[in-house]
């Protein structure tokens, strides 16, 4: 072995280290690949050695190569080897390599679970830290499931360094394993008030991320966050909180009202641009949520717009960009306030930064009105001419079309103008949006009947000048407009004045160079044209001319018959034959025009893009039913290897059952939709076919060759859109004059004929009457179309799984899987296995129960709405009410005491996780009172323990009502877990430790799951004075049995410094770990807290003595147990028995059980009427079983436990608790 070590270090002298490798790569610029492959060979050799240092060095080099883009997945196993090295130096490198190259597909990742668990519980905080960091990069669903509990425990680690990492990683765990969210959430919430600012900020980060995805579940946290927002000075945290509020306000407008003031204050006061920007954004979100049914907050809007204007005017491009971005959000709800800054925005169109110009364009979209549309578009057209680079010009083009066509051409008053704009846009060289223009032309021509004549004349002109457009024959190029032109001229040929000329233009040989699909449309529409000319001539009796035109067709059509495009060829040859036949008839002087025109009779109406989707499925038609009997199993098995399709059929047939009920069908339909959504080859419904066309990948990347034409492209005879602007002005002026003359003789019938989906006229805009009699045809929908729009939510959204109700109490089945050590398991056996089996079999039942509960809740809610004052049972409902209370700004003296008493009840009944909430709620109450300033705060700022007592007395008063409630519940046996659910979060039943005029200490003791001889004491220090408390140090006189865990190297007489200082009025929590040998007896330790009081007069040294009482109950850990396992345990006969009886109990049984659960860490196994069995386990594995019976005025408790001393001590403690009732 020693030799190997020597050999290892000698070898290492010849190895390259990382620096050598980097240098080597830099020196081999010419043959880098060769050099690296040589290095990789060396690394492979190094990895084969036993010396871990050599391996780590090799892995480090590999990590560098991975960054350069080389595949190192082959070394995954070696990386794990280095990860599991005991030395931090190597472990660190191993985890770094893993975090860089592991992903969900890495198969060896499952080997890491135990290693990571070991590192997480390492005594060295940096080992734990490195493991957490690594995990954050490569956590998989499996790892998340297996390690969730470990990480959750770390959230309460003594070191803030670990706590903050653990908190942040929990978010990754939630994403991969959503089931962990509910069990972990109470603790996460606790961390919002962690003494360490880093941990606090981490918790804010995580909850903010969670809440942004599913805000409604986090609404109840609003008061807490509000408190944090008003107290925090850390901008990093503030930004996150404000962002969170931005997500919450849309759900609760009243929250917005509360926020406006602090936010505007921040906007006024802050100098940090990032914070200002976030505030403005949230204020905008608030205003959007308030915009309906609220008096205007014009001051706030003005403030935002002003600040944004400052940003936009700033020379910093980043601020300019963001200012415009935020402005566009205001635009949606308050267009007027933005429109006044039109000058600024138009100015931004000239900015040298393209991204800023694009943002300004976005804003213009919302700023148009009927009045200014022409003006804005004119400006944009100027920019189009000036623009350099096709991308920006294309962007302008699409924006112009977007602006004009928005909300069903709402702002266009003159369609002639719009058509000429479109025609002008066709002059753009090298654009890739020919298709878009074409679609607009078609749409307008089809839907606006009045414009057809004008459109046709313009299109005829385009066809005539086709040679100018056809030069760019690439896909989606400008030649696409010829498609529209040809179709419009053909379809509406009756409006064409010189049809002959157009027909000739369409028959030019040059046409054959156009793309196939355009030629096809040409051919088809030629016939339409031909038919209308024929009719014209025949009616005029001009037979010769008719024959001439037929001859022309027969002469020119063969060029299309020869086309390489099948579609063109087919159509052309078909039509050629038709026309030859017509020629024969014409020769016989038979009138044919009527028959030819009949080929194209009838109007074509536009169809709405969603029409197909909206067709209702006829009654009795089941699309999931088989048309033919599917092949039987045996058949398909025989044919199995043949084709894929058979295999698929077989899969289906296996699913098939003789009778399929409705639910099953719905489920299948859902599954099919999922499959379709995941199948890249399944064409999903998209709003319009042309969009899909545009989105085709690859098309965008085809390089566009810019053709430089020295001659300006001006189509002769084309109208200029500018003339319309002038005309429009004149017209408006005239209209105005007319109106003034005969004010009341307005002819409003015109407007009555508008068919518009959602015309949102404002008063002033309605004054402008359209120039033409416009009839916009709405798109056709199938008869009895379904009116509702289906939610097109993405089924693959990873955040959807985290949409979990967090206020509902935890169910037993939701516990996180806990990895137990083997020795613990042996202690627990034989019942543990039984419990496991039991658990499995119970699961489905549980779910059903939960479901039922949910339904019950719903019913109750409805009831509640009717009755104003009624006692609630459900925590959930109270939450909602509390929030309501917090949000209501009206003074509410009456409900206040009620709101306080109710939480106490609820908390006592539903036990521990809710207990935590209760405290928060109290704080919230305090806070809201401060907010309102209506109530005397002194009265409510009571010390916690007093409060608890008070609540107890209230409980007594309420007990009658309570018992009434318990009667209501069916007397069926209550299974373990319904009363007492969550074993993991720490208790928060803080008791008073000591108090003097400066400081108050309250404490709580929790057993440590991981360690059977440790308990954690959490002490809350509250500064009651007006001075600053610092250098606090806590010391305890150890006993033989119980010792405080001190840092290594310190003596038993040293105190432990409290890791924080206390400003006046602030309280904070610190945790201390104690080790114990025996836990069967209660313990008392004497201790002292020393601290320095610092105020204006100077500082004094103070001391406070205390006695720390370790009750036996604090060694118990709430552990659920199933009735079968419980029965086995009792039968085993290893347990000692003892019993007590307490008289004079008046509280309800349920309440009593809750008290035992809460204060003594028990869980209910089974409950029948007024008798219940309960279970708990000590940290050293003692089983404690109780049988609690309630008589008239008394309670008797029989207990069984492995240790008789422990049992009698426990029962004594219980007696004390109960006698207080």
């Amino acid at each position: 072995m020693a030799l190997k070590m020597v050999k290892g270090s000698i070898d290492r002298m010849f190895d390259k280290n990382l620096q050598d490798l980097v240098r080597g790569i830099r020196n081999h610029k010419e043959d880098e690949a060769k050099y690296i492959s040589q290095c990789i060979d060396e690394i492979k050799q190094e990895l084969k050695q036993d010396n871990i240092a050599v391996k780590a060095n090799a892995v480090c080099k590999l990590t560098y190569l991975q960054m350069l883009g080389y595949d190192i997945s082959w070394a995954a196993f070696n990386i794990i080897e280095v990860m599991s090295a005991s030395k931090f130096t190597f472990k660190r490198i191993g985890y770094l390599a893993a975090s860089q190259c592991f992903h969900e597909g890495t198969d060896v990742i499952m080997l890491t679970t135990n290693q990571i668990r070991k590192d997480l519980s390492s005594p060295n905080q940096y080992d734990t830290g490195v493991a957490l960091t690594g995990l954050s990069c490569f956590v998989t669903p499996d790892l998340a499931r297996d390690l969730a509990n470990d990480i959750m425990t770390l959230m309460s680690h003594t070191k803030p360094y670990i706590r903050k990492k653990a908190v942040l990683i929990m978010y990754k765990v939630f994403l991969k394993y959503p089931e962990s969210l509910r069990p972990a959430f109470p603790r996460l919430k606790e961390k919002l008030e962690d003494p360490d600012p880093g941990v606090q900020s981490a918790a804010v980060n995580v909850i903010c991320e969670l809440a942004r995805r599913n805000p409604k579940n986090y609404l109840s946290l609003a008061p807490l966050f509000f408190k944090l927002m008003t107290s925090s000075t850390n901008n990093w945290v503030l930004i996150k909180i404000i962002k969170l509020f931005g997500a919450l306000t849309p759900l609760e407008p009243r929250l917005g009202k509360k926020l406006i003031e602090p936010l505007t204050n921040l906007i006024h006061s802050t100098s940090a641009m990032s914070l200002l920007y976030e505030c403005v954004n949230t204020v905008i979100a608030v205003l959007i949520s308030l915009s309906s049914g609220m008096p205007n907050h014009s001051a706030s809007i003005q403030l935002c717009v002003q600040k944004l204007r400052i940003l936009i005017e700033d020379s910093d491009q980043n601020l300019k960009y963001l200012g415009l971005l935020a402005m566009s959000k205001i635009l949606k709800t308050h267009p007027k306030s933005v429109q006044s800054h039109k000058d600024l925005i138009l100015q931004c169109l000239d900015d040298k930064d393209e991204s800023i110009r694009l943002r300004a364009l976005d804003l213009l979209y919302g700023m148009v009105s009927k009045k200014n549309l022409m003006e804005i578009v004119k400006k944009l057209m100027i920019h189009v001419d000036k623009a350099e680079g096709t991308t920006y010009r294309d962007e302008l083009l699409t924006k112009i079309i977007d602006i004009c066509s928005q909300s069903n051409y709402q702002y266009i008053t003159n369609f002639e103008w719009y058509i000429s704009i479109l025609v002008e846009l066709t002059r753009l060289e090298g654009t890739r949006h020919g298709h878009l223009i074409a679609a607009q032309m078609l749409d307008v021509a089809i839907r606006v009947k009045a414009i057809r004549k004008f459109a046709v004349s313009q299109m005829a002109m385009l066809l005539d000048n086709a040679h100018l457009l056809a030069s760019n024959t690439q896909r989606n190029g400008i030649c696409e407009v010829l498609y529209a032109a040809a179709w419009i001229c053909g379809e509406f040929s009756e409006h064409l004045e010189e049809a002959n000329q157009t027909l000739e233009a369409m028959l030019r040989p040059k046409v054959t160079t156009l793309p196939g699909h355009i030629q096809a449309v040409y051919v088809q529409n030629m016939v339409k044209l031909y038919a209308s000319i024929l009719q014209q001539k025949e009616q005029a009796g001009d037979k010769e001319a008719a024959q001439e035109i037929t001859q022309l067709m027969i002469e020119r059509l063969p060029q299309f018959v020869q086309s390489a495009d099948l579609e063109v060829q087919e159509r052309a040859s078909c039509i050629l034959q038709l026309i030859k036949y017509i020629q024969k008839l014409q020769a016989k002087e038979v009138p044919v025009a009527e028959e030819v025109i009949a080929l194209f009779a009838g109007e074509l109406n536009p169809v709405a893009p969603k029409a197909q989707k909206k067709v209702p499925v006829p009654e009795g038609l089941d699309l999931d039913a088989w048309i033919n009997e599917p092949p039987s199993d045996s058949e398909s098995e025989d044919e199995k290897p043949k084709t894929i399709f058979h295999e698929e059929e077989q899969r289906h047939s296996r699913h098939r059952q003789p009778e399929i009920d409705e639910e099953e069908l719905a489920r299948r339909r859902e599954a099919r939709k999922q499959e379709q959504a995941n199948n890249p080859f399944y064409i999903k419904s998209s709003p319009s076919p042309q969009k899909r066309y545009q989105d085709t990948p690859g098309v965008e990347h085809i390089p566009v060759v810019q053709i430089d034409l020295s001659v300006p492209l001006k189509v002769p005879g084309m109208p200029m859109s500018d003339q319309y602007v002038k005309l429009e002005e004149e017209r408006r002026h005239k209209q105005k004059l007319e109106k003034d003359k005969k004010k009341k003789k307005q002819k409003k019938e015109k407007r009555g004929k508008h068919h518009r989906h959602n015309s949102l006229h404002t008063e002033s805009e309605e004054d402008i009457a359209p120039a033409h009699h416009v009839d916009i045809i709405t798109e056709e929908m199938p008869e009895n179309a379904l009116p509702s729009d289906e939610d097109d939510k993405d089924p693959n959204d990873p955040y959807k799984a985290l949409d979990i109700d967090l206020d509902k109490p935890l169910a037993d089945s939701e516990k996180l899987p806990v990895q137990r050590h083997r020795n613990v398991e042996t202690l627990k056996s034989p019942d543990s296995e039984a419990a496991l089996v039991e658990k499995k079999s119970k699961k489905p039942k549980k779910k059903e129960k939960k479901h039922k509960e949910k339904e019950r809740d719903k019913g109750k809610k409805k009831e509640k709405e009717k009755k104003v004052v009624e006692e609630e049972e459900e925590e959930e409902e109270k939450k909602g009410e509390d929030l309501d209370f917090w949000l209501s700004t009206a003074p509410a003296p009456a409900p206040a005491p009620q709101a306080q008493s109710e939480p106490a009840l609820g908390a006592a009944v539903v036990a521990e996780p809710q207990e935590v909430k209760k405290e928060e709620r109290e704080e919230r109450d305090d806070e809201e009172e401060e907010d309102e300033g209506k109530q005397k705060s002194s009265k409510h700022k009571k010390k916690k323990h007093k409060k608890e007592k008070e609540e107890k007395s209230k409980d007594k008063k309420k007990s009658k009502k309570k018992s009434h409630h318990s009667e209501e519940e069916p007397p069926e046996s209550v299974q373990n877990g319904t009363l007492e659910d969550e074993p993991l979060p720490p208790m928060s039943s803080y008791r008073l430790l000591a108090e003097n005029p400066f400081i108050k200490m309250t404490y709580d003791i929790q057993g440590n799951l991981q360690n059977d001889s440790q308990v954690t004491v959490s002490v809350i220090f509250e500064n009651k004075s007006t001075s600053f408390l610092k250098s606090m140090e806590l010391n305890v006189l150890d006993s033989l049995n119980t010792k405080m865990l001190r840092p290594e190297g310190s003596s038993v007489h040293d105190g432990i410094p409290v890791p924080f200082q206390l400003p006046p009025g602030i309280s904070n929590e610190a945790q201390f770990v104690f080790t114990l040998q025996s836990i069967i007896m209660a313990q008392k330790l004497k201790g002292t807290l020393s601290f320095i009081v610092k105020n204006d007069e100077g500082s004094t040294h103070e001391k406070l003595d205390f006695k720390l009482h370790f009750s036996c109950a604090s060694y118990l850990i709430t552990t659920p147990c199933y009735s079968d396992a419980f029965a086995k345990l009792l039968e085993s006969g290893d347990l000692h028995m003892s019993s007590i009886k307490v008289d004079g109990i008046s509280i309800s049984f349920q309440h009593l059980l809750a008290k035992i659960c809460f204060h003594h860490h028990f869980s209910v196994v089974e409950r029948v009427d007024s008798c219940a069995s309960m279970y708990s386990r000590s940290i050293q594995g003692h089983h404690v079983c109780l049988l609690v019976k309630k008589g008239e005025n008394s309670v008797s408790i029989d207990g069984k436990c492995n240790d008789s001393t422990l049992l009698s001590n426990l029962l004594d403690e219980m007696k004390e608790t109960l006698s207080k009732c």
Partner: protein, 154 residues
């Protein structure tokens, strides 16, 4: 949440990559190539924000190095710039007047610093002092172990 952080030189050479979402290597390479190209082709005087797919790229150039973060739609761009700046400050504090070569030759240290600052795409420590101290403590641990290892075994 930050989805990934890239450091690359003006020549387009990648100096550091950190991913907070797990992706296969192929995908990563494709994204890196695309993003480096997008950012290098941008004018010096343009804003630091680019919309890219459903994410936003926030980048800043320090000397010869580009620092680029991909953030989500709702994230605060200015805050991300601060994150980048804070990271540069941390590097500067650790290396003392940091330059590109420091990051090339001590690339693992650059990662360690980043890991103390950001975890899982979220800022974990806003205090410069605490972050640097954590790294130095780790280094102390490492150095002593290394010294120990370098001693001859006989």
């Amino acid at each position: 949440m930050i989805h990934f952080i890239l450091l690359f030189s003006r020549q387009g050479k990648l100096r550091l990559q950190k991913w907070y979402t797990t992706l296969p290597d192929k995908e990563k390479k494709k994204i890196i190539r695309e993003i480096v190209q997008i950012i290098l082709s941008r004018n010096q005087k343009t804003s630091s924000f680019v919309d890219w797919k459903d994410l936003k790229l926030v980048y800043k150039r320090y000397a010869s190095l580009y620092f680029c973060c991909a953030i989500e739609d709702q994230d605060n761009e200015l805050l991300t710039l601060e994150v980048v700046h804070r990271y540069v400050e941390l590097l500067d504090k650790y290396f003392g007047n940091v330059c590109e070569l420091d990051i090339i030759f001590n690339f693992e240290k650059a990662y360690f610093i980043l890991d103390e600052f950001i975890i899982g795409g979220e800022v974990q420590e806003t205090s410069k002092k605490i972050a640097v101290k954590a790294i130095e403590d780790c280094d102390m641990l490492q150095e002593t172990v290394e010294e120990y290892m370098n001693k001859p075994a006989f």
